[in-house]
């Protein structure tokens, strides 16, 4: 028994080590910040706190003249804990490594939280193999790489909540109630609220469906109202001091949409715009092996229907319901799709490892067959899941798709040499997401057009400074393309009498006027 415990702990640290290695690949070689459109906004909330050495309640100057100000009346969009945590890591480990280490550690939470739940439900080896597989969950990796979204961490808390739910409800049904798990469940919902409230929906829906399933199976209400009320009280007390952050609620009116009924026959319901088509491809996201063995796993669970099977099936049903919320007019299913792997991977692993138990053979042979299947599965995971995700992580935002050191230098000059109320107009930077990075790294209001501009418009002259950044184009093409040459000519004409205050590595900053 003792050696088992040591083995469990050893596996936890091994999984943590592998997760850290893989998920930090995007900033191991190049430690400059990366990510698509929303990563810069999450980064800058934390960065503003660490640069000022002060927590912020309202969005900082770099958000002036952006739509972000409208979403929560100028306040931070979420409760401040997640971004404050990243700011603290910046103070400990540096502006970029600190923030991204925090994002990576929080985003890989699903690997270990799933281990706890699946070990409780189906044993150590099912837990170890499914957690190993989850390290390479493509949708989780995409949300993390593209935008360091807090919801990745919040979805990672779901298995811990379900562990507590399972422990509490099953102990209650055995007349040995363990209310500590109900209270821990309340604490975990609060944590989800602090990180990103979206994932609370899947936690709550799964626990409701599971409770109903237990009620039907055991013909007994599986919880005590007093314990549930105390858990709700814990959530209320912990959340109350931060409620003033939420000034608006983006609620979509619920109404039955009959035109969406056919979408019930599609696994992903009605696709929502915002991600490429491949995001909706099951085999594209999970590889070719998950679907067949997940189906085996689901069938075996439906046939078995023990409490632990019912929990996994409840989780899957909750996912299905959320994917079809368009039926009542809601369209937030896109982000929930990363939950699919969290449910189906453990179901698939459990299904495969249960197969030998269905055939009559001596126990020693059963053990060897199970071992063989486990080894085969690990090899398949390495080939079909680890290899492609390694490429995504290792090659994330290479070359000029990421902010360059020349661009970082000019933003640092702006941050250190200009006043907070100064405003900037940015020309030349090659892509929209990098323009956003230029804005947030300088911590100043920086305006630009989303598309590339090839002439100097009058709006640029209404700012304190104008930045002309040709560095990406020259690094990529070895010179300026014709349209950029016309921008440069316009720059020389319009800013002929303006003072150049910064000129390095093909980036110039003018004081306007």
């Amino acid at each position: 028994m003792k050696s088992n415990k040591a083995l469990e702990l050893g596996l936890i640290f091994l999984l943590l080590g592998i997760s850290i290695y893989f998920w930090t690949l995007p900033f191991q070689k190049n430690q400059l910040p990366f990510g698509d459109v929303d990563s810069s906004t999450h980064f800058t909330v934390a960065d503003s706190m660490s640069q000022l050495d002060k927590p912020i309640i309202f969005l900082p100057a770099q958000f002036n003249n952006t739509y972000y100000l409208k979403t929560n009346n100028g306040k931070l969009w979420y409760l401040p804990q997640y971004h404050t945590g990243a700011a603290i890591f910046q103070l400990i480990s540096g502006r970029f490594v600190g923030a991204y280490l925090f994002f990576a550690l929080m985003s890989t939470l699903i690997v270990l939280s799933s281990f706890v739940l699946i070990k409780e439900l189906f044993g150590l080896w099912s837990a170890a193999i499914s957690s190993f597989w989850l390290i390479f969950s493509t949708r989780d990796i995409l949300w993390y790489v593209l935008g360091v979204y807090p919801q990745v961490a919040s979805f990672g808390i779901v298995p811990l909540f379900l562990f507590c739910t399972y422990r509490y409800l099953t102990s209650f049904l055995k007349n040995e109630p363990k209310p500590a798990y109900a209270f821990a469940g309340g604490l975990l919902i609060t944590m989800q609220f602090f990180v990103h409230p979206q994932a609370i929906l899947i936690s709550a829906l799964t626990s409701v469906i599971f409770s109903i399933a237990l009620l039907i199976k055991h013909k007994k209400i599986p919880f005590n109202i007093k314990h549930a009320a105390l858990s709700a009280g814990i959530i209320l007390i912990l959340v109350l001091p931060f409620l003033s952050f939420l000034t608006t609620v983006e609620a979509e009116a619920a109404s039955l949409k009959l035109s969406e009924i056919p979408s019930l026959l599609k696994w992903y319901g009605t696709p929502v715009s915002g991600m490429p088509e491949g995001y909706y491809s099951f085999s594209g996201m999970h590889g070719p092996i998950l679907l067949p063995i997940a189906i085996i796993g689901i069938i075996l669970m439906i046939l078995r229907r023990k409490d632990e099977d019912l929990l996994m099936l409840s989780w899957l049903f909750a996912f299905y319901i959320i994917m079809h919320m368009s039926l009542i007019g809601w369209s937030r299913s896109l982000r929930f799709m990363e939950v699919e792997a969290h449910i189906l991977i453990p179901i698939a692993v459990v299904g495969i490892l249960r197969l030998p138990g269905m055939v009559k053979m001596p126990n020693e042979i059963k053990y060897l067959v199970r071992l063989g299947l486990a080894i085969c599965l690990i090899l398949l995971v390495l080939y079909f899941a680890a290899r492609p995700t390694y490429n995504i992580l290792n090659n994330a935002f290479e070359g000029t798709t990421r902010i360059t050191s020349a661009q970082l230098k000019v933003t640092e000059w702006v941050k250190d040499s200009t006043k907070i109320q100064d405003t900037f107009y940015l020309f030349g930077t090659s892509i929209y997401s990098k323009k956003k990075w230029m804005r947030v790294l300088s911590l100043r209001q920086t305006d630009f057009k989303n598309d590339n501009e090839f002439s100097v418009g009058p709006e640029a002259l209404n700012h304190t400074y104008a930045i002309f950044d040709y560095s990406d184009w020259i690094a990529t093409y070895g010179g300026l393309p014709p349209q950029l040459v016309s921008l440069q000519n316009d720059e020389l004409i319009k800013f002929n009498n303006s003072e150049v205050v910064y000129s390095k590595e093909n980036i110039r900053v003018y004081k306007v006027g």
Binding site: K2, S3, K5, A6, E8, L9, G10, I12, F13, L16, G17, I20, Y21, T24, Q28, Q31, M49, L52, D53, K54, P55, P80, Q81, Y82, T84, G85, A87, I88, F89, L91, I92, S93, G94, V97, G98, L101, F102, L105, M106, L109, L112, S113, F115, V116, A153, G156, L160, F163, P177, K178, P179, A180, L188, M191, F194, V195, H227, L230, P241, F242
Partner: protein, 115 residues
């Protein structure tokens, strides 16, 4: 020291070492904060009767959210860096207090709740 504790110490040290190899001093410092905060949360949860693996895995997010909640409030008065140090000291102090509360007292309290 029993086997479990040896594995925890080796595991924690390995995580710090890995972060050190990947990110130098920045990684080591982050690793130390990761291990200290997780260890504190783990000690508290285990004392309240939760399993060791649940307590460890729950430990980091819960400890960091505790620290960041406190740091956010205290940071408005003392600056974020100082607030972080104060919060860490508070977490360590709470852990020390919980560690030395006799387990029987906690069990009595939990029996009351069960009733």
């Amino acid at each position: 020291m029993d086997n479990d504790k040896i594995v925890i110490v080796i595991g924690g040290t390995s995580v710090i070492a890995l972060l050190g190899v990947l990110f130098g001093l920045s990684g080591i410092l982050a690793g130390i904060v990761l291990c200290i905060s997780t260890a504190c949360a783990k000690i508290i949860f285990v004392k309240f009767g939760f399993e060791e693996d649940f307590s460890i895995i729950n430990g980091f997010p819960i400890a960091i959210l505790f620290i960041s909640s406190l740091s956010f409030g205290l940071g408005l008065l003392f600056g974020l860096r100082n607030a972080f140090y104060i919060s860490l000291v508070i977490l360590i102090t709470i852990t020390a207090i919980v560690k030395f509360i006799p387990a029987t007292k906690l069990k009595k309290h939990s029996k009351k709740l069960e009733a």
